[in-house]
Symmetry: none
Subunit: 225 residues, 4 copies
Amino acid sequence: MVSVESHCPKWRRLPEERPQQILVAAFEVFGEKGLAGARLDDIAKRAGVSKGTIYLYFPNKEALFKEMIRQTVVAHLERTERDYEGKRGTAAEQVREYMRDWWNVARTPAYQVVLRLVIGELHRFPELAEFYWQEVILRKQQLLHRLMRRGVESGEFRDIDPAVAGRMIGSMFAAHTVWACSSAVAPMLAATSDAEQFDQIMDFFFRAVAPDRSARRVRHRARCQ
Amino acid sequence: MVSVESHCPKWRRLPEERPQQILVAAFEVFGEKGLAGARLDDIAKRAGVSKGTIYLYFPNKEALFKEMIRQTVVAHLERTERDYEGKRGTAAEQVREYMRDWWNVARTPAYQVVLRLVIGELHRFPELAEFYWQEVILRKQQLLHRLMRRGVESGEFRDIDPAVAGRMIGSMFAAHTVWACSSAVAPMLAATSDAEQFDQIMDFFFRAVAPDRSARRVRHRARCQ
Amino acid sequence: MVSVESHCPKWRRLPEERPQQILVAAFEVFGEKGLAGARLDDIAKRAGVSKGTIYLYFPNKEALFKEMIRQTVVAHLERTERDYEGKRGTAAEQVREYMRDWWNVARTPAYQVVLRLVIGELHRFPELAEFYWQEVILRKQQLLHRLMRRGVESGEFRDIDPAVAGRMIGSMFAAHTVWACSSAVAPMLAATSDAEQFDQIMDFFFRAVAPDRSARRVRHRARCQ
Amino acid sequence: MVSVESHCPKWRRLPEERPQQILVAAFEVFGEKGLAGARLDDIAKRAGVSKGTIYLYFPNKEALFKEMIRQTVVAHLERTERDYEGKRGTAAEQVREYMRDWWNVARTPAYQVVLRLVIGELHRFPELAEFYWQEVILRKQQLLHRLMRRGVESGEFRDIDPAVAGRMIGSMFAAHTVWACSSAVAPMLAATSDAEQFDQIMDFFFRAVAPDRSARRVRHRARCQ
DNA sequence: GATGAATGAGTATTCATTCAT
DNA sequence: GATGAATGAATACTCATTCAT
């Protein structure tokens, strides 16, 4: 978890855990109420500090919100980002393992809160959106691309564009994650356990990328770069 | 399009087009600012009525928001909901046609606005979420289930659980739609045209539900329609 | 008294006397507390309106302050600005009459409040300072210049630079006026009635501009232009 | 310069130059922002101490303000207050010399800052106003009275009430000084140099107090000193 | 019906003051 | 003594809601 002052030198030195307390409280309250709905009073109360103290560490409500997103996402990244390419196993095994990690993280209440906030309010903070894109989505997709490409080369997968494959599995994961935390569509998943959902997605995915019947070996084509 | 007073008898008769003007304006402003960020002044101004007039037709801001969602969704339903079972063609053809309709609707700016609002704020309005579930998601899924079941029975598709298949294609559609309107992940789709995205999803889907190797061949038609 | 909306079209139509009520209350509170010390709650209470109503007519506290100054000064101008040149009488008589008008106005509590505010806070509002200079000080001085010049030409006064004469009598008036409302120096004037003060100033002034002993007629010199 | 603790025993011993540092910083900040506009943070920062340290030497912001005024004024007094009665020269010469000293001091930026603060905010601090009256104004006027009385007795001046003469020249000086530092009326003085202004005031003054025509001639010396 | 002036509760933000270290 | 983190009362400003016209 990256500490606060590494991002913005204008915030004062943290005299212990104050910024973390505040961010934790902010996470809860923003998660419940959204950006506009959250009251600084509530955040302060939940953090066990006074309202003024928040302003000692964050210049305003928006900065607090953005830092909360940033830090949660960073924490998430650090928890999931490992080098899967150095690992042993078939490409399929690696993809499955990587997606399982992602799935586990995505089941986290914290992740779901961030996800809802990201979808609902990120478009108002372009730099934050850019950060999210660069550090979260792009990195995830790039790793997936590498794994898929290896699988294509080894003949485990058919000759699918890795970017398309990454997007497809990403889309299924993202939607299932949002649905899981959205009351509106939760009933759709009610009868299916988390583990089943994961297996269903992976099974669906592997079938879609399974090698064509006739060709075990795939020719490297131009678009695979 | 369902008229306003059918939902709530306490709203007065519509004496021309007042409620529609207001809802249209509300749609724009809520879409830009979200529920909490939208100001009734702005909605009134954009609707060309006075702020007080809004209260002649809607008891408060939340009701206006809910009615806007409801009506947009209803309009959307009416535009897409047709009986695909009576149609001719293979199950795959019918699925593809149905999904194309859905895709076209989902590309609509209006739909994307609703989608963002739904994800961000629907959890605060349980009855609305219930309505959304019943009238949008469930109906869509049930139709898909029927089409899938027919395809399975006819041997066009492998023996997949129709609910799972519906969920998978739904998840891909939903995520691609959200992404298209979310600045955070928009770059991921930038290089791919709408038509390509649709084809990629459908191709991916049909491969995943294709009958097993040993079973009878399914005629794949030129997938560029 | 110039009405409010003639200055700034962005303020809404005044639906009777609302802006005046507010300005009158603002005048009192600002006069007692100064710009920073005045609370909008107090102004609203004293005006008999709610706090929000103030914002219906004035975009913020500063604008209210500035408008109050502007309007008081304008009112003052309209009360004093007459054409003294068309009047009959010697230049000395006209000067005396004009200064008496000024004196009377300057004794007004309102004027003293404005004066203190002007000296204390005007330097933060350059446009307002410019307005004050153009509309109040410059106009007064220019009229004085004309009167003095006539007196010099007619031989009633010695060949004094009208600008200097205007500045001198202005300085005495200004200081006496500030002193009268300043607790710090009020004791200095305590023993002297208003009428006496006026007579003393005028007597002092006329002696200082009295023609030189030897010359009844004054030669027009270059600097009198 | 009167040291701090002679005024208020509750302030602790000065352990070097701390209080002076603070007062100097306070002078600058109060001068720029006024009483209410000045922030203790800024004063502390400019003094190079922590905010808490200010409270070691001054019980609160107002006391700091008052002490600053007091000390500036005292310093001013000590710089100008000399015994002019023991000096040689005519009364007119002594008046001129005394006024020149005053004028020089009044041109000081520091004095102008104090002047603005005094006019704008002194009315809220009656004891400070009393102090100002006793120590600044009264002492100045009394010395002027003595000089004037001597001049009247010697026939240099006409038989004018010394208090009135003192008030008149004081009023001209005060106003010119305020004007010089007030953006609102600064243009009025722009074309006239400091030295010219002084000469104009003194010339105007000496003419107004010159002995009547019939009385004995007063030697007017080259008024350009 | 329609208006828009009026309301006042609600909230972000500031800053003088305190006090544990 | 000195610090500066913490406090929370104070206050400008907003905006959903009401209601007299």
